[in-house]
């Protein structure tokens, strides 16, 4: 047992949607190391994909290569994921309108689902701007 200890793992991806497949591979390894359940791994994967795909699709105004840095830190009570990108300043967590899940299909809107899912499967979702970086932190209790 690893008691009272915080351990962290990092990796980075390029701003290409194909990189999302690599996240799943990394999370498979973390899941073994930290002994996550399948459901925990599933929810973490989904949350990270929703954040990263938003960054890749909307954060960059140029066509250059950018790097998105992911840090995973776990102690005995929770996993904290920090995702940093150097895209434009955009707090999409705030700007996103609320999804109404109780309306009939004709009125259901196509957008906004990703952030709705993210906020529901994570215990905390926060955004801050650090100099030229957007920083999203996600927390999920173990």
């Amino acid at each position: 047992m690893r008691k009272n200890s915080v351990e962290s793992h990092q990796f980075e991806i390029e701003n290409q949607l194909a990189e999302i497949s690599r996240i799943a591979v990394m999370l498979d390894a973390f899941a073994v190391y930290w002994r996550w359940t399948e459901k925990f791994k599933h929810d973490v994967n989904l949350a990270v994909e929703e954040v990263v795909s938003n960054i890749i699709m909307y954060a960059y105004t140029d066509t250059l290569e950018h790097h998105i840095k992911l840090n995973f830190e776990q102690d005995e009570t929770r996993l904290q994921i920090t995702i940093r990108d150097d895209g434009k300043h955009y707090d999409w967590l705030q700007n996103n309108k609320k999804v109404d899940v109780n309306v009939p299909v004709e009125e259901r809107e196509i957008g906004g689902l990703g952030i709705h899912l993210l906020k529901n499967i994570m215990d905390e979702v926060n955004y801050r701007r650090e100099e030229n970086l957007n920083v999203v932190t996600l927390i999920k209790k173990i």
Binding site: L17, A18, I20, S21, A24, E38, K39, H42, D43, N45, L46, E49, E50, S53, V99, D100, V101, N102, V103, P104, V105, E106, R108, I110, L113, G114, H116, L117, N120, I121
Partner: protein, 112 residues
Amino acid sequence: MEIASYKKDKVMVVDVKGRLDTTNYNSLENELFTMIDKGNLQILIDCKSLNYVSSSGLRVFLVALKKLKALNGKFALSNLQDNIKEIFEISGFITIFDIYSTADEALIALSN
């Protein structure tokens, strides 16, 4: 993700395997739209071997459902795994989609 489809009576059954995410939702969307354009208005997605769906995948289901409803067609899903069922619940999709435990049940319902 792997997509395989076959026709069972009037229903087009689409087996989707693996992960449906931002990297590949386009393929499923194109496949479904082509089917609908060819006049297949009763579509069943069998999710027995589908183990991951992100919001991009959910959007494909919603767009297909809206399109088929507008054409008086039918759209159903079967065999949702627990993790995916939970995502459907959070999204409110559980109530707007016709979801069946097995493909056979869904086929009976769609044929009626």
